[in-house]
Symmetry: D3
Subunit: 137 residues, 6 copies
Amino acid sequence: MIAFISRRESFSSSHRVALPNLSDKENMKLFGACSNKNGHGHNYILEITIKGKVNPKTGYVIDLKEVKEIMHQNFLKYVDHKNLNLDVDFLKGINPTTENIAIACWNKLNPHFKKSAKLFSIKIFETDKNFVEYRGE
Amino acid sequence: MIAFISRRESFSSSHRVALPNLSDKENMKLFGACSNKNGHGHNYILEITIKGKVNPKTGYVIDLKEVKEIMHQNFLKYVDHKNLNLDVDFLKGINPTTENIAIACWNKLNPHFKKSAKLFSIKIFETDKNFVEYRGE
Amino acid sequence: MIAFISRRESFSSSHRVALPNLSDKENMKLFGACSNKNGHGHNYILEITIKGKVNPKTGYVIDLKEVKEIMHQNFLKYVDHKNLNLDVDFLKGINPTTENIAIACWNKLNPHFKKSAKLFSIKIFETDKNFVEYRGE
Amino acid sequence: MIAFISRRESFSSSHRVALPNLSDKENMKLFGACSNKNGHGHNYILEITIKGKVNPKTGYVIDLKEVKEIMHQNFLKYVDHKNLNLDVDFLKGINPTTENIAIACWNKLNPHFKKSAKLFSIKIFETDKNFVEYRGE
Amino acid sequence: MIAFISRRESFSSSHRVALPNLSDKENMKLFGACSNKNGHGHNYILEITIKGKVNPKTGYVIDLKEVKEIMHQNFLKYVDHKNLNLDVDFLKGINPTTENIAIACWNKLNPHFKKSAKLFSIKIFETDKNFVEYRGE
Amino acid sequence: MIAFISRRESFSSSHRVALPNLSDKENMKLFGACSNKNGHGHNYILEITIKGKVNPKTGYVIDLKEVKEIMHQNFLKYVDHKNLNLDVDFLKGINPTTENIAIACWNKLNPHFKKSAKLFSIKIFETDKNFVEYRGE
């Protein structure tokens, strides 16, 4: 039997949505208030979904303590209470849109899951009104 | 890389779930309190999901400002603070169940999206306990 | 020892904010979209707070089953799935603003509580962004 | 036209995640605080999704009153305000992980839906951070 | 300048609302499903409010890291993933109603706050519909 | 009859909690991750409460459209999508803790309310777990 198990964690980061080769004025035209020169910030929510067989002995797809550890060690500790443009190595040179954060998160977390309980989806909520899902495709 | 981007907006409307060719008594039997003659109402939430390639230059599937504009100009301005049975041209003659509102919303919004960032799903939450998803199928 | 115990319930109603002696145009000027002629609606939340001594034997201020019964029999059954302008006797001739709904609710519920566990506050949430509290003063 | 309709209900239960053939110490090692000998508890949320054709006459996939009745009669009344290890016949001998609760819920509810409006998904939220989805596969 | 600062944490516990000198039948009559013999459980939320002067140097009433430590060391670690009737020394012989949990929490936390930033209120949410506030009076 | 009416709005800002006369190391010791040199950010919620007589003619304490306008023109437009340390004139030289943001917000909004419907409370939620209330005392 196949089940999907999900875990939500939050992180509080600042960012500026902007392209380095554009002027402030051009960025403002393209990205609006999101490209404010000194940045702004969000309480992001990361929702990760794992798909796998329910282990008939334990009744788990995967132990969520293990999932939390993977999330923390490979993503959350690098982004929580950080500036996504300046402080995060794996986002260097990447415009930190919600789409790009979700893709970067997938790339950081995916190698740590096995075939038997594989990463199915990454959702990043920028606010409770805006969110992006990436499924590794 | 393909991502799904979603936006939530709310609207506050009144409606009556009823069939015009039935008596009040027959409607009450079929639809219960939802067919109260003078109507009732909800704070609906519309959650729209767009599927598309992440633009490698901007890092966007689509600019949410554009999505919000499409939602407002083609759906929200017609239903927010309105009576869904009496005030909305594109719902005329349609029983305003959550299912039918979701389908009507799809039909109003879908023409405004392109192949590169196409409408994937419409979710309408009637309350935080009842909701419907329609994917254009 | 004095504690405050609260219970939340929801109701789904339609209403029109308008004064009977004004024209539709004047009402629209005064109340905006809230005075739409055919009404609109909300999922209201009623949050009621009771203040009283904690009974040293039972550990209760009051049994919430009793509170729920009072809420249902004296208020919720009259307003849920109703039109607040047309269907509710105790709102007849009253402009159904959130303020007036809260006051009417207080007046309906207050006689059913005793001195030992008295009604302290009525909160009505019209949406998750707008709410009113009335404390009987 | 095919739509997905969902309903959320909650239930408050206690449980202990543990395997009967292991010692308390071994269970604590495998399941951590979730295997506390005297149990702990949650406000679970059950979110059920039905997939089906929208009936062109009524505008319903299925009447949610019917869905609520199926949920209550076949699952909720057995688990709400109960101990999942000791009080629930259909969980006897089953480790009450969220995965296993979701599967058991599917098995109890699925026979009561027809092909025209079939059970599509069971989601069980153990907390607002942990949840499992099962689709009968 | 005086401000109120609040912190929310959750804990997942089982309990049984019952009086030891009553039979199961009498408890069921008095407390209903809440006295189910084998218990049930909740995701409780503890919301604590501290009142004090804003320190003109730091801009803090109190450092929330300190508040979290007080909450964890003196209350949360004793109740989270525990059975409130059997596992918690400071609730021994106390009927674990929400009122009594709030009072016990106040008594455990209050000695750890100083006059300059004193405990103002303890709120315990049993569910998102039921909650109790205690202010030490 | 006196009622309290509240309105919630959100704003997304970056900030750094730090004292200008301290070194980065000293700030990190005093404020922890909140003093990360390049900042971090939040989706703040501003909840404002007005206390006043319910106008017997309109049924309003105050028109929420007016409240929203005051909130936007005097506070939200200066902080939303901004860096609270660098972009906001009325926070210049002020350590942007939640307490200080609440006080600054009170000072900006209070002059725009009248005695008949006066500002009663400013709540700022930094996250859904941390919030501060200021009542002008």
